[in-house]
């Protein structure tokens, strides 16, 4: 396999100053990796191929056209003087957003978080796409295991399609049980039809010699709920991209991200949630600890699109900085061209407060031990919330490489 460089992966829709180096990520895939497609999927749900997702989207488009097809698409009002100057001077991303609204195409609006180029590459490497299908009203679970293959690019493409009123619970563990180096990746498209509920828990425990790509695209119809829990504990370089369309009335997407940066790790997160549907809700919660000389970038965008009356978007990134030499970049964006909405975001980037440290010291802990507690607590939390034994073992394995006797002392 030839080396690949993706120069504008995981780009946020509304860019900011280039000097900040935050707008997107550059991903380098080394040469001479073998193409692998070795995910193990265990499920009680029916399996299918990529056409399941495409057909579900077509059905959603038909339903959307019926409900909203005649609704006029408003654009920004322009006064006479602005017309004389060539119209409203929209930026490139604002023009693109307007064009997307005009197209009224759900498929055209649908993207995955890492961008088309990376998504296509992962799917090409994965050779084929597998669909996990939850028929209407059913409840199913699935477990997916992706392991690093030494000198390989182990890619997986999965579609999760939950039909009306179905419940689908999926756990994904990405681990490197044996020593080696390479790239792992997954491309997930998630479709939640009316009243469906999809939960995905992805835990990544790769050693530092690996790079991981986590690419997701979500679609939520009326009254549908999608929950994504992402736990990023390992890998030398991690790229996480998630984009979601809240197209349905009262649809919900909740994303919970827990991360631990240590050593010289680089973590990159890109979230884009678009509110098309009235009364739709999204919550983006990111919590993490950065230790060693790790670097993290988080781009979070909540896009409140005209027509999504009563939509609510909420976004938080809380980062604890443990060591000198860490670097944290956070850019939580809200884009809004609908007035009847509520959007808010918050970010807290800091260290352990003096009074907290004082308390811990009074209990006999040194500042270093106190800070180490936050690292072990992140690992413990991942272990306690693991969806299955395979995931627990993977967390314990990584924990032992990071903290002496982790499994023995803490679990």
């Amino acid at each position: 396999m030839e080396a690949r460089i993706f120069e504008h992966a995981s780009a946020m829709p509304a860019p900011t100053w280039y000097f900040l180096h935050m707008n997107d990520a550059t991903i380098e895939i080394p040469a001479q990796l073998s193409c692998e497609a070795q995910a193990v999927i265990e499920t009680d749900a029916p399996l299918g191929d990529a056409t399941e997702f495409v057909e579900a989207m077509q059905a959603a488009q038909a339903a959307w056209d019926k409900a909203y097809g005649d609704r006029p698409v408003l654009t920004n009002a322009v006064d006479e003087q602005a017309e004389e100057l060539g119209g409203l001077a929209l930026s490139a991303y604002q023009k693109k957003a307007d064009a997307m609204e005009q197209s009224k195409s759900l498929a055209a609006a649908f993207t995955q978080g890492m961008g088309e180029e990376v998504s296509d590459w992962i799917r090409e490497m994965a050779v084929k796409t597998q669909s996990v299908i939850a028929p209407a009203g059913s409840t199913h679970t699935a477990h997916v295991q992706i392991s690093g293959v030494n000198m390989g690019a182990n890619m997986t493409a999965i579609d999760l399609v939950a039909h009306e009123g179905a419940t689908l619970d999926v756990a994904i563990i990405v681990d490197s049980p044996t020593a080696g180096t390479g790239v792992t990746g997954s491309s997930l498209r998630i479709f939640a039809a009316e009243g469906a509920h999809v939960t995905v828990r992805r835990v990544q425990t790769l050693d530092d010699t690996w790079t991981d790509l986590d690419d997701m695209g979500l679609f939520a119809a009326d009254n549908a709920t999608i929950e994504v829990h992402q736990t990023v504990l390992g890998a030398g370089k991690t790229y996480t991209g998630l984009a979601g369309d809240l197209c349905g009335y009262n649809s919900t997407i909740n994303v919970y991200t827990h991360y631990l940066g240590h050593g010289e790790q680089e973590l990159d997160f890109n979230y884009v949630l678009r509110h098309h549907g009235a009364k739709s809700t999204c919550n983006l919660y990111a919590n993490g600890v950065l230790a060693g000389s790790s670097k993290k970038t988080l781009r979070g965008t909540i896009d409140l699109i005209r027509g999504g009356k009563g939509a609510v978007g909420h976004e938080v990134d809380n980062v604890l900085l443990v060591d000198e030499g860490v670097s944290n970049k956070t850019v939580p964006n809200i884009l809004c061209n609908e007035d009847d909405v509520m959007g808010n975001h918050g970010a807290t980037i800091g260290h352990i407060k003096a009074d907290q440290l004082f308390y811990l010291e009074s209990r006999g802990l040194s500042p270093e031990q106190a800070e180490q507690m936050f690292v072990t607590a992140t690992l413990e939390d991942a272990w306690l919330n693991a969806a299955n034994d395979v995931t627990k073992q993977a967390v314990a394995r990584l924990g032992n490489t990071l903290v002496e006797n982790f499994e023995e002392v803490y679990l």
Binding site: A14, P15, T16, W17, Y18, L20, M22, N23, L74, T75, N76, A77, V78, D79, E80, Q81, A82, E83, E84, L85, G86, L88, A89, L90, S91, A92, Q94, R306, V319, L321, V322, D323, E324, G325, V326, S327, N328, K329, T330, V331, P332, N333, I334, L335, C336, N337, E338, D339, D340, V341, M342, G343, N344, H345, G346, A347, T348, I349, G350, H351
Partner: protein
């Protein structure tokens, strides 16, 4: 007094803006050719009888201008054709120290804008620029006796005492390489102010510069350079306006502020350009140990605005605060915010902004807070609130935080929403009309900014809001 000037501000409708929107004949003014060439740059420099080093700086900046790309991340500036912008328009007068000596039509302009009245009432000094040159400059004798210097930059450049200081500071904070319009400014700057406040001097009354761009299709490129020495204090006010035309005008000024140890500088601005203006202004301050920079900023006019005052906290315990409001109405795309760099231990920054979008206007709050490795025990808070008054408008928030230091606390919060119907209903039940109720709520929303302004400016800002809100209902 003409009919238009007799109108009350609140009676001016959304398009008329006649309080600020009057045009004076410019046919007798000297215009350089439109466009941007080395010859034009040389001509500007020659007219000002500048030292050679300044001409070299200008020509170098012009080269950089041609090399740098147009920014593609913000509002479109495709409507700005530099080949049709006149970069230098000289008013029919030299700089005067008495209003009586200023030509009648120019004096009338500033009379209407209330500048002489403000000077008499509460200012320690006034500078008034008309198109490319200062036409009036004056400072109270008491301030003069304190050793404060307040003059045009060109005037200061002619004084050997200040030439060296200007040489050492001019475009050092905002180098031409910073962005395309900083380079443009470096090439064709004209007018502006030089302020020097000596060590330990505290000026109790503000100085004010007012910039009026009257000429059609012209650019204004004033440069403001302020040096506040250690333990000194200054409040500087900047006001700007222009009449509207159906062609693009350009404002690409630059403001460089040097704040000494334990010094304090408050820089207040109401930018009220006409709605054909491309306002691509650059402002930057650097603070030494214990220095304190306060920005108060109101952005109202302009077709397109790029405005992000920047604070570089370079000394231990330095502080900055930014309080800003942006009101984007019909046809406007205003991209505003601020930048902060925490580059020394125990520095502190606070940012509080409000933005309002209405009638199709687009408002973007854009910020960056960068904490370098030197910023141990520093802290910054950013709070940004946006109000959408209808669904034909747009409001975006793009705040970036970049932290490279362990012991810092950076907090950020932002909200976007609309005026609650319950609040309007309550006020209407107390006898207000819907328009009055909404205006009152918007004024309340803007109150954290207006309370920081001198009273006269707070009144002006409230009137501007009232003016923008008229016709907002139905």
């Amino acid at each position: 007094m003409t009919e238009s000037s007799e109108k009350k501000r609140t009676q001016v409708d959304d398009i008329d803006r006649s309080m600020y929107d009057f045009i004076k004949d410019e046919s007798n003014q000297e215009h350089l050719e439109a466009g941007l060439t080395p010859e034009i740059v040389r001509e500007i420099s020659e007219k000002k009888n500048e030292p050679d080093w300044m001409l070299e700086k200008r020509l170098k900046a012009l080269e950089i201008y041609h090399e740098l790309p147009i920014p593609d991340w913000g509002p479109s500036i495709a409507g700005l054709d530099m080949d049709h912008i006149v970069t230098y328009v000289k008013p029919e007068t030299d700089q005067q120290a008495s209003w009586d000596d200023v030509p009648e039509d120019i004096k009338d302009t500033f009379d209407r804008l209330g500048i002489p009245e403000a000077e008499r009432s509460y200012l320690a000094g006034v500078g008034a620029q008309y198109d490319s040159e200062l036409v009036y400059h004056s400072m109270q004798e008491s301030a003069s006796k304190m050793g404060i210097v307040y003059s045009g930059i060109e005037e200061a450049l002619e004084d050997p005492k200040w030439e060296g200081i200007i040489h050492d500071h001019f475009m050092k904070l905002i180098p031409p390489t910073d962005h395309k319009f900083a380079a443009l400014h470096g090439a064709v700057w004209s007018g502006g102010s030089f302020v020097y406040v000596p060590k330990g001097v505290q000026l109790d009354y503000p100085l004010q510069s007012y910039f009026r761009l009257n000429a059609r299709g012209a650019g204004q490129f004033e440069h403001t350079l302020i040096i506040v020495e250690d333990d000194a204090s200054l409040h500087f006010i900047e006001g700007c306006s222009a009449p509207k035309y159906n062609v693009a005008n350009l404002h690409a000024g630059a403001v460089e502020l040097f704040v000494g140890e334990r010094a304090h500088l408050r820089y207040s601005t109401i930018e009220n350009w006409s709605k054909n203006m491309y306002n691509l202004n650059t402002k930057r301050a650097i603070c030494k140990e214990g220095g304190d920079i306060e920005w108060i900023s109101g952005s109202f006019g302009s077709h397109v605005g790029y405005l992000y005052p920047m604070s570089i906290l370079n000394g231990r315990d330095a502080k900055s605060s930014f309080t800003g409001i942006t009101f984007a109405g019909a046809g406007q795309n205003l991209d505003t915010g601020c930048k902060v760099v925490l580059n020394a231990p125990r520095t502190k920054a606070s940012v509080e902004t409000k933005s309002i979008s209405k009638d199709g206007g687009v408002s973007t709050f854009r910020s960056s807070v960068v904490a370098t490795k030197n910023a141990e025990d520093s802290a910054a808070t950013v709070s940004c609130q946006s109000l959408m008054l209808d669904d034909r408008s747009r409001s975006d928030t793009i705040p970036a935080m970049d932290v490279k230091c362990k012991n810092v606390d950076i907090g950020h919060e932002a909200t976007i929403g609309r005026i609650g119907d319950d609040k309007v209903f309550y006020l209407m039940s107390r006898g207000l009309s819907e328009e009055e109720a909404r205006t009152m709520i918007v004024n309340g929303f803007a109150e954290p900014v207006s309370k920081e302004l001198p009273l006269e400016y707070a009144v002006e800002m409230n009137n501007l809001i009232k003016l923008e809100m008229e016709g907002a209902i139905g």
